[in-house]
């Protein structure tokens, strides 16, 4: 019997607001411990929450971006549990009436694109951060409340996902849209995007859902994928042995590559939800919602299609260049100034991105102005630079900030087409490689590529490739 997995994701995204969800403290994450706190977010007696309109606006942005329903009336609830990093003993969240319902995300799978439906999105406040350092041999608990009260948007999917790969694709997509709409930095490593997973398995073709387990502690896309794969294997093995799967919360252990059941006490809570009396319902004006809709940026799918039609670049490049809004903006700035958009796409999408990656730079921090890159594309279009030289010039542009022409001129990196110079390089090369010359003449023509490589090296990439190749073939063909 084959089994299929049924997967639903609950993602918490940190919203990009200047201040916290219910107080005026800065939502700063790198500040010294307990430096961004006040009576409200510390849960001091008598302090009261006031909802941050900007957080609601960001939730509405994401909702509109994924075709969801924004509710003109939503409300707040208290979710009670005791934990040292939860100062009020309850979290303010949205329960019965979330701000956004419905919507869907398109994901790319090996079988083409699929639409993953969303259940809801709701606003809530984050908890503080507990650490348990050893101090003089004793385990202590230290709590930093800087994160406490920062706004989160919980995004709940319908269990439409079927494989770990799809779950990953969903997260990649969600992260992309969160960043496009400037709703969240969605940085998983810094905790800006957190993911809980509900997973059950059932015999293929079965309609009824199996008993789900909830997985926690998944802090990277890779962990989500690996944890799901391990959990599917575990659940299927149990069913195959005729055992049942129990409804429980499990923790992913990345080192052991398996999931572990959490202690019941940690997992089973009666949260005693009830309406938050300190906050009136969140009432959104339809005109305000409409204004947010008008301010939404072009979403990645539409932008990708437009790049193909407007600039005539390959769909593959368009997908790559729309991965983030900043990259697409940069590309369009270059393409608008370059004589050939496809060359601009190659330059930005492969050469520049690779170089930035090497230097661990974001495209927003790229010191090369779009005009300079467009000029480089122009030189490439004229054929005056080999691809090897392009890389070198680009590296210099990044390092020195000089214009491409200036770099080429000062370094003497103009392509060499002069027959005398080329011929001298080829003859010298053949003299140092008698074995390869002999092989070639015996019919092993594959050594030509090796010799071309050596020639480019000898010329520091300056030899005009086509002319040099013709010359090489000519001199190899000639009897000694």
């Amino acid at each position: 019997m084959t089994y299929e997995a049924v997967i639903g994701l609950e993602v918490h995204a940190q919203l990009k607001t200047a201040t916290k969800m219910f107080c005026a403290c800065p939502a700063a994450f790198e500040a010294p411990p307990n430096s961004c706190v006040c009576p409200v977010c510390l849960g001091h007696p008598g302090a009261l929450p006031v909802a941050n309109r900007r957080a609601a606006e960001l939730a509405v942005r994401l909702g509109l971006a994924v075709g969801a329903t924004v509710r003109a009336h939503s409300s707040w609830a208290r979710k009670s549990y005791f934990y040292p990093d939860l100062p009020k003993g309850y979290q303010i969240t949205q329960y019965a009436e979330p701000i956004v319902t419905g919507g869907a995300l398109e994901i790319e799978t090996t079988e083409g694109s699929r639409s993953i439906r969303l259940v809801r999105m709701h606003l809530e406040e984050d908890a503080g951060r507990s650490q348990h350092p050893e101090r003089s041999g004793e385990r202590t608990t230290r709590v930093d409340f800087n994160r406490c009260g920062t706004p989160l948007l919980e995004i709940v999917s319908v269990p439409d996902l079927r494989t770990p790969g799809e779950a990953r694709a969903y997260l990649v997509r969600l992260k992309q849209i969160l960043q496009y709409c400037a709703v969240s930095d969605a940085d998983m490593e810094k905790g800006g995007l957190r993911c809980d997973v509900n997973i059950s398995v059932r015999p293929a073709g079965e309609e009824r859902l199996g008993t789900p387990a909830e997985l926690k502690n998944l802090n990277s896309f890779r962990h989500v994928e690996r944890a799901l794969a391990a959990e599917i294997t575990r659940q299927v093995a149990r069913l195959r042995r005729g055992e049942t799967v129990s409804r429980e919360t499990r923790r992913w252990d990345p080192a052991g590559g398996r999931t572990h059941a959490m202690r019941d006490k940690e997992a089973e809570h009666d949260y005693r939800y009830f309406p938050e009396p300190d906050l009136p319902p969140l009432i959104l004006d339809p005109d305000w919602i409409a204004a947010i809709e008008r301010s939404l940026p072009e979403m990645p799918d539409r932008r990708r299609a437009r790049l193909v039609t407007q600039y005539g670049i390959r769909p593959y490049d368009a997908r790559l260049l729309t991965a983030t809004r900043e990259l697409a903006d940069y590309f369009e700035a270059v393409a608008a100034r370059a004589p050939d958009a496809q060359i601009a796409a190659n330059l930005v999408g492969s050469e520049l991105l690779g170089l930035l990656h090497e230097h661990k730079l974001e495209v927003t921090a790229c010191p090369i102005r779009p005009q300079a890159l467009a000029d480089l594309a122009g030189l490439r279009a004229k054929g005056t630079l080999s691809s090897k030289l392009i890389k070198q010039v680009l590296a210099e542009m990044l390092a020195s900030g000089e214009a491409p022409e200036a770099i080429i001129r000062s370094r003497g990196w103009v392509q060499v087409e002069d027959d005398t110079q080329l011929r001298a390089w080829v003859i010298a090369l053949l003299e140092t490689h008698p074995q390869e010359v002999a092989d070639y003449r015996k019919g092993k023509t594959a050594v030509l590529e090796f010799l071309m490589g050596q020639l480019m090296k000898r010329s520091q990439g300056r030899a005009h490739p086509e002319i040099a190749r013709a010359l090489l073939e000519e001199l190899l063909g000639a009897k000694p």
Partner: protein, 484 residues
Amino acid sequence: MRGAPGTVSALTAALRNGALRLPEVIEPYLDRIRKRNDELGALLHVFDEGARSRARELQRRLDAGDWPGPLTGVPVAVKDNISLAGHPTTAGSRILKGFRPVYTATAVERLEASGAIVIGKANLDEFAMGSSNEYSAYGAARNPYDTGRVPGGSSGGCAAAIAGGLALGALGSDTGGSVRQPAAFCGLVALKPQYGSVSRYGLIAFGSSLDQIAPMARTARDCAALYNAIRGVDPHDATSREDGAPVDVEAWSQPPRDVRLGVPRSWLAAGLDADVRAGFDRCCARFAKLGARLVDVALPDPSWAVATYHILANAEASTNLARYDGVRYGPRAAGVASVDVLYAATRGAGFGPEVKRRILLGTYVLSAGYRAAYYARAARARLALRAAYAEVLQCVDALLMPTTPTPAFRLGEKLGDPLAMYLCDVFTIGANLTGWPAVAFPVGRNPAGLPLGAQLCGPLGGEDLLLGLVHRFDGGEPLPLPEG
């Protein structure tokens, strides 16, 4: 105290025309506190040096021709569940022993901005949960009219302070009658403002959807002056509202002709003390003589409001009191092995029996499997009660009823019987559940000399109407203070 002005209005008038100077005003109060506070248990913390320096500062401004505000020089007690930065704020609980807030409640800031002098923090039932002030972790307060009797609760310390001559006004809080019932027991005027009229920022929460900071004084005019100082929208309280013009009781100097007052006749039947009944009848007769029309109205039996109230208030309280866990402030149990034991030991030692009872009840009514039967039903009952009150208010301008079923009772009389204690609030909790404003006011004394009270309730936005009617009733004259 002989010769000293006995009302806010008389005191401020004397200061304004220079007949009195502030240090002369404040010293007799501090003197009286020294003499009587131990016996009355009214104030938990006395700010004698703070009050003196504030009096000097205000007098300097007066001498410079400045008039700081309508409460200039008025000695006011603030219930100890209202935050005052840097000063102890215990809410009458051991769990906040030694706690000093880092910020001041909006209402207190506004009070001080009007020139008032906060003379001390007043005793209360722990976390405002009680009707006799006997549930204070710092000892009971006593009724100045008969020190063998309770001053009422939970704002018992405020009431005892004013009736005992230790202050001219007070800020209490009212969740189910906590300023009105003590006002009835101590012969005072107390306004429970409409929910949202006064900012709750800095009021230690009990039942957040019911709580209001509430002024207490000896006359309607004085109560209005306190209310005007603290009312209005506050950006720190999302449930606060702007409610138009301030209250002007002087505008009510004409007889309240054509005002219709609804009397819920069925409430006056069983269980009402004969003296309270007689006082209430005299009150009705006087309002009729002043030109009001009294109309019988039918309201739902108050006993189901009591049940509804205790479910909702305790549900909210069970979460409001979750923060007292010993982690960030307040005393913390020592020598514990885990955080769960820390919570249990800290809360077990820090809360008194009545607070524990209410936390347990509130937790229960919100628990899975019980929420629908208790919390959700009570929430629906509250809506039904609002609808019933609103319907009655179609026919009358306000409701007139007794404040309490009995006058002040003896200390210890109801301590063993929580249900009997809860019934002290039977007439007052309607205003909290509906959010309506209500004013309690004295209607004389019984043959034993104990004050008797009545209250006016509703409509929404009706603080001006209610205080105006009481002003017509008392004519600016307070009930005489007890001897002592």
